[in-house]
C-alpha cells in the first residue's frame, strides 16, 4: 500500500497540453476518483501514475519514493483497462496467473493465490474457460482479479464500467467497492460518470481541459462546488448570471430582474463574473402563495415523470428564465399540472454563488 503524490505535473503532447500544473496527494488506502468530461486529462494523469507516460514536468511519488521515470513493469501497480485488455489467447486462470508468473512465484503458490482471488470475485467455476466465452461483467471481474492478485501498491481503474449495461454497472460498482475495502488498497478510479464518482469515492478530483478544478469529498463537491463548471458537471443545477452590487451589498440577477438573498450574503470572490447555482431538489414549489425572500411567480411548462422523481420546468413570469425543479414521487395527486400558475422559492441557504470558470 502506498500514498501517491503528484507535484506540479504537466504533460504536453507536442503543442497540446493535456495536464497542467497538477498538485495532488492521494492518501494510503483511499478510494480516489478522477472525474471529468472526455479529453479533460484524467486518463493522461492515470497513465502517468501507471508509468505509460512520463510527465513533461513535475514528479510522481509513491510514498516518499520518486517514481517519475520508473517503467511501468517496475511500479507494482494493478491496472484495469476500459476494454479490460484480457489476453485473448489465455484462459481465465492463465490471465490471472500472468503477473505471478512474471514474478517467478512457485507453481503451488500461484495456483493457491489465483484460486483465492477468483473465489473473491466469484469466478471460481469459470477458472478454465477461455476469456472470450465470458460475459462482459465476468470479463470485468477477471480483469479486476488479474490486477488484484499481484497485491499491487496501487489499484488503477480506467473507466472500468463504461462498457457494461446500466444494471450490471450498479452491481459492479458495489463489487469493486467491496473488494477495495477488503484489500484496503489505495485505489484511483477514472470516470466521466458522476453517479459512480459520488457513490464510490472517498475523495474526488474534478478535471476540466487539463486543469484540476476541485478536490473534495463527494458531499463537498456536490454541495459546495467552487465554480459553475463543477456545479453543472456534477448533478443537475440551475445556473444564472448574477452581479454583486457593491453599493447595495446584494446580489442582483439580471435574468430574474431582482435581487437575490443568499446565505452567506457576501461573495467569496468579487473579481470576475459570477454565477448562482441552485439544485432542482432545493427549490420549493407551491400553488399557494409563498412568503419570504426569493419568491417568484411562474407557469409550469413541462412535467417529466422518471419513476422515482418528477421534474417540472417552470417558466418565471416577466423573464426568460426557466427553472428545473425536482421532487420525489409522492403519488399522482402531488404532480403539478402543465400550464398551472405556481410560486417558487429559492431558499437563501441553498443558493450558492460561484465564480464563472475560465474558458480556455
Amino acid at each position: 500500500m502506498s500514498s501517491v503524490t503528484l507535484s506540479n505535473i504537466t504533460k504536453r503532447f507536442g503543442n497540446f497540453t493535456a495536464v497542467k500544473d497538477l498538485d495532488l496527494v492521494i492518501e494510503e488506502g483511499e478510494f480516489f476518483t478522477f472525474l471529468g468530461p472526455s479529453g479533460c486529462g484524467k486518463t493522461t494523469t492515470l497513465r502517468m501514475i501507471a508509468g505509460f507516460y512520463y510527465p513533461s514536468e513535475g514528479k510522481v511519488k509513491f510514498n516518499e519514493k520518486d517514481m517519475t521515470t520508473v517503467s511501468p513493469e517496475n511500479r507494482n501497480t494493478g491496472m484495469v483497462f476500459q476494454n479490460y485488455a484480457l489476453f485473448p489467447h489465455m484462459t481465465v486462470y492463465e490471465n490471472v496467473a500472468f503477473g505471478l508468473k512474471v514474478r517467478k512465484k512457485k507453481k503451488a503458490e500461484i495456483k493457491k493465490r489465483v484460486e483465492d482471488v477468483l473465489e473473491k470475485v466469484r469466478l471460481k467455476p469459470f477458472i478454465d474457460r477461455q476469456v472470450s466465452q465470458l460475459s462482459g461483467g465476468q470479463q470485468q471481474r477477471v480483469a479486476l482479479a488479474r490486477a488484484l492478485v499481484i497485491e499491487p501498491d496501487i489499484l488503477l481503474l480506467d473507466e472500468p464500467l463504461s462498457n457494461l449495461d446500466a444494471r450490471l454497472r450498479d452491481e459492479m460498482r458495489n463489487e469493486i467497492l467491496r473488494l477495495q475495502r477488503e484489500y484496503g488498497i489505495t485505489t484511483i478510479y477514472v470516470t466521466h460518470d458522476q453517479v459512480e464518482a459520488l457513490t464510490m469515492s472517498d475523495r474526488i478530483a474534478v478535471f476540466n481541459v487539463g486543469n484540476c478544478q476541485q478536490i473534495g469529498t463527494p458531499t463537498e463537491i456536490y454541495n459546495q462546488p467552487v465554480n459553475d463548471f463543477v456545479a453543472e458537471f456534477i448533478g443537475e443545477t440551475n445556473l444564472l448570471d448574477v452581479d454583486w452590487k457593491e453599493d447595495k451589498e446584494e446580489f442582483y440577477s439580471e435574468g430574474l430582474n431582482k435581487s437575490i438573498a443568499v446565505i452567506p450574503p457576501e461573495p467569496e470572490m468579487s473579481e470576475g463574473p459570477l454565477k448562482m447555482s441552485i439544485r432542482p431538489e432545493a427549490i420549493q414549489v407551491s400553488e399557494e402563495e409563498l412568503s419570504g425572500p426569493n419568491v417568484f411567480l411562474g407557469n409550469v411548462q413541462l412535467v417529466q415523470f422518471t419513476g422515482e422523481a418528477v421534474h417540472s420546468f417552470i417558466a418565471i413570469h416577466e423573464s426568460d428564465v426557466t427553472l428545473k425543479v425536482t421532487d420525489l414521487n409522492k403519488g399522482p395527486s402531488t404532480y403539478l399540472k402543465e400550464n398551472a400558475q405556481v410560486y417558487v422559492q429559492l431558499p437563501p441557504s441553498q443558493v450558492r454563488v460561484v465564480p464563472k470558470a475560465k474558458k480556455e
Binding site: E73, N83, V102, I150
Partner: protein, 561 residues
C-alpha cells in the same frame, strides 16, 4: 533524451534498416547508377537510346506493356465484377460451390498456367484440334498466341483480383443504405447507380491499380506466348541475356518508376478514408432466384464457367501421365502411366529441382517470417521519425516487377559488397533464396500488420503493468496473438516462392535450379509430360498450403492480395 522506450525502438530498427538498405535500397541504387553508365563513364546515353529514334524497340515495348495492361484491367473487370455481383447478391443451387471454384486460377503458378493454356488453346492445342476433328474442318478454327494469348491468360489469372475485392466490398455495404435509398423513392437502377456503385469505387480503383501493376510486371505469359511481340519486362530479360547490363538497368529503372509511382498513388488513395462504412458489415442480403428458367440458366452457365476455369488444371493433371517420347507428332497423347512421377523419386536429376525449390523457399520464408514479424511490429506499434519512409521501403519489393528485383540483385551482388559479407553472390546457390526473401517480405509484413492493427495497445500495457518486461510481453502475449497473421503471410510467401519464375530465370545456376526452371527446360526438350508433372507438384504444394492456412488459421483467400 534517450529513454528506455526509445532505446528499444532503436534496437528493433537497426536490423530492419540494415536489411532493407542492404537488400532493397542498395540494389535499386546500384541499378540506377548502372543505368547512367556506358563503358564505365557517366552518361545519359542509355536513356537517349531508350527514348531516341535509334532503338524503337524499347519505346515500343513500353507502349505495348501499357496497352496490354490497360486491356487486362478492362477484361478482368468485365469478368470479375459481374461474377462478384452474381455470387454475393443472388442465391441459386450450388452458389457457394461455384464461388469456391471462381478463385481456382490463383492456385496455378503463372508459368504453369500459361503452359496449360498453350496446350489447351495453342496452335496445336487440344481444344482447337478437337473442334477441328469433330467438325471435320481443314484447319484449326482458332488458336491463341501473341497479344490475344497474353490477354486471355491475363484475364484468366487476374480477374480474381476484381472478383475478390468487389465481393468483399459488396459484403461490407450496409444493406440499410440501399434500403433507405429505395425507401426514399429511388428505382432499382437508381439505387445501384447512385448508392452501390459509388460505394464500390474504392474497391474498383484498388483492383484496377493492382491488375495494372501485376500485368505490367507479368513475365511468364509474354515469355511463352509473345513470339515477336515486345513487352518491357521481357526486354529486360533479353538485354540481360545479351549481356547488355546497362540497357537492362535502364529498362529496369523505367519500369520501376512506373511501378513505384503506382505504389505511391495506391497508398495515397487508400489513405483517404472518406468512404468508410458508418456501421460494421452486416452481411449481404441475397435474393433467391425464384424463376426456374433463370435459375437453370444460371446453374448451367456456372457449370460451363467451371469447366473453363478448371480445364487448365485438368489438362495439367492428365498430361502429367504422358511418358517421355510418346507424344511427338500425334494430335492427342496416346499412352499414360506413372513414369514421370516414378522418375521424380528415382532420378536425382529430376528430383533435385523439387528439393531445391522446397529448400530455398523454406529458407527464404524463414527469413521473411522473422524479419516480417519484427518489421511489422515496429511499423504498427512503435513511434519513430521516418516511419512513412520505412513503410514505403518495405513495400517496394512488392511494387517492383520480379524481373526488376532480379536485375537489382544481379547488379548489386555481381561484386563483393559488405552486405554479402565480401562475397560475389551472383552465380552462387544463395542468390535465389535471397531474391525470394526480398520479394516476399511485403507479403508477410502486410498480413502481420493486419492482425497487429487489431491488437489494442492496452493488451501490451496490461502485461507491462503486471510486471512483464518488453521481451517477455512480446514472446508470451503479442506473438501468440499475431501468430496466425504471421504464419498465413509466410505460407503464402512459401506458395509463391515455390512457383516463382521471373527472378529464378534471371538468377538460377545449375546447382539451385528450381522447379520453374526445370519446367522451362523440359518444355524446350518437348518433354511435356515431365513438365506437367512438375507443374502438378507445384499445384499440389500450393493446394496443401492453402488448405492448411484456411483450416488452421482461418485465412481467407482474399487476404492473399
Amino acid at each position: 533524451m534517450l529513454n528506455a522506450e526509445k532505446r528499444k525502438t532503436l534496437f528493433l530498427l537497426i536490423p530492419i534498416v540494415l536489411i532493407l538498405v542492404g537488400y532493397v535500397l542498395y540494389p535499386s541504387i546500384e541499378t540506377l547508377l548502372e543505368s547512367f553508365k556506358r563503358n564505365g563513364a557517366m552518361t545519359l546515353q542509355n536513356y537517349i537510346d531508350f527514348f531516341g529514334p535509334k532503338a524503337q524497340s524499347n519505346l515500343e515495348a513500353l507502349w505495348n506493356s501499357v496497352y496490354i495492361s490497360l486491356l487486362s484491367v478492362l477484361l478482368s473487370a468485365c469478368i470479375g465484377i459481374p461474377l462478384a455481383f452474381i455470387f454475393t447478391r443472388y442465391d441459386f443451387p450450388g452458389r457457394s460451390f461455384f464461388s469456391g471454384i471462381a478463385i481456382m486460377p490463383i492456385v496455378l503458378p503463372s508459368l504453369v498456367g500459361v503452359m496449360a493454356f498453350m496446350w489447351l488453346y495453342g496452335e496445336v492445342g487440344l481444344v482447337p484440334s478437337a473442334i477441328r476433328d469433330i467438325f471435320g474442318l481443314e484447319e484449326v478454327p482458332f488458336s491463341i498466341g501473341g497479344v490475344s494469348g497474353i490477354l486471355i491468360v491475363h484475364a484468366y489469372t487476374m480477374y480474381p483480383y476484381f472478383y475478390m475485392t468487389v465481393s468483399s466490398a459488396l459484403n461490407n455495404v450496409d444493406p440499410s443504405l440501399e434500403e433507405s435509398a429505395a425507401n426514399l423513392g429511388s428505382s432499382r437502377f437508381g439505387v445501384f447507380w447512385k448508392v452501390t456503385f459509388p460505394l464500390l469505387t474504392p474497391a474498383l480503383v484498388a483492383a484496377s491499380l493492382l491488375v495494372f501493376m501485376v500485368s505490367m510486371a507479368s513475365f511468364s505469359a509474354p515469355f511463352l506466348l509473345a513470339g515477336g511481340y515486345r513487352v518491357l519486362s521481357l526486354q529486360i530479360y533479353f538485354s540481360k541475356i545479351n549481356g547488355n547490363l546497362e540497357m537492362a538497368a535502364t529498362q529496369s529503372v523505367i519500369l520501376s518508376i512506373i511501378s513505384i509511382s503506382f505504389l505511391l498513388f495506391m497508398r495515397w488513395f487508400q489513405g483517404r478514408k472518406d468512404y468508410r462504412m458508418g456501421t460494421k458489415g452486416i452481411g449481404a442480403h441475397r435474393s433467391e432466384v425464384s424463376n426456374p428458367l433463370l435459375k437453370w440458366i444460371m446453374v448451367s452457365l456456372g457449370v460451363v464457367a467451371m469447366i473453363v476455369l478448371l480445364l487448365p488444371h485438368v489438362v495439367l493433371a492428365i498430361l502429367s501421365f504422358v511418358p517421355e517420347g510418346s507424344w511427338t507428332w500425334q494430335t492427342y497423347p496416346t499412352s499414360f502411366n506413372f513414369e514421370n512421377y516414378r522418375l521424380l523419386f528415382e532420378d536425382p536429376n529430376i528430383w533435385d529441382p523439387v528439393r531445391n525449390s522446397l529448400f530455398m523457399a523454406f529458407v527464404a520464408c524463414l527469413g521473411c517470417f522473422v524479419f516480417g514479424m519484427i518489421t511489422s511490429y515496429a511499423l504498427v506499434k512503435r513511434k519513430f521519425i521516418g516511419k512513412n519512409l520505412l513503410d514505403i521501403l518495405v513495400m517496394i519489393p512488392w511494387a517492383l516487377p520480379a524481373t526488376v528485383v532480379g536485375m537489382n540483385l544481379i547488379l548489386a551482388f555481381n561484386k563483393e559488397t559488405p552486405f554479402s559479407f565480401g562475397q560475389v553472390l551472383v552465380g552462387t546457390y544463395w542468390i535465389l533464396p535471397l531474391a525470394y526473401f526480398v520479394r516476399f517480405i511485403p507479403l508477410v509484413v502486410r498480413s502481420t500488420s493486419a492482425v497487429l492493427e487489431q491488437l489494442d495497445d492496452s493488451i501490451e500495457e496490461a502485461a507491462q503493468s503486471l510486471g512483464a518486461k518488453w521481451f517477455y510481453t512480446f514472446r508470451r502475449v503479442v506473438l501468440p496473438i499475431i501468430m496466425p497473421g504471421v504464419l498465413s503471410g509466410t505460407l503464402l510467401a512459401f506458395v509463391q516462392a515455390v512457383g516463382e519464375f521471373p527472378t529464378s530465370v534471371l538468377l538460377y545456376t545449375l546447382d539451385n535450379r528450381p522447379i520453374s526452371i526445370e519446367i522451362m527446360n523440359q518444355l524446350r526438350l518437348f518433354n511435356l509430360g515431365q513438365a506437367a508433372a512438375f507443374g502438378m507438384i507445384q499445384v499440389g504444394l500450393i493446394a496443401i498450403v492453402m488448405i492448411i492456412s484456411y483450416k488452421f488459421f482461418g485465412v481467407k483467400s482474399e487476404n492473399t492480395l
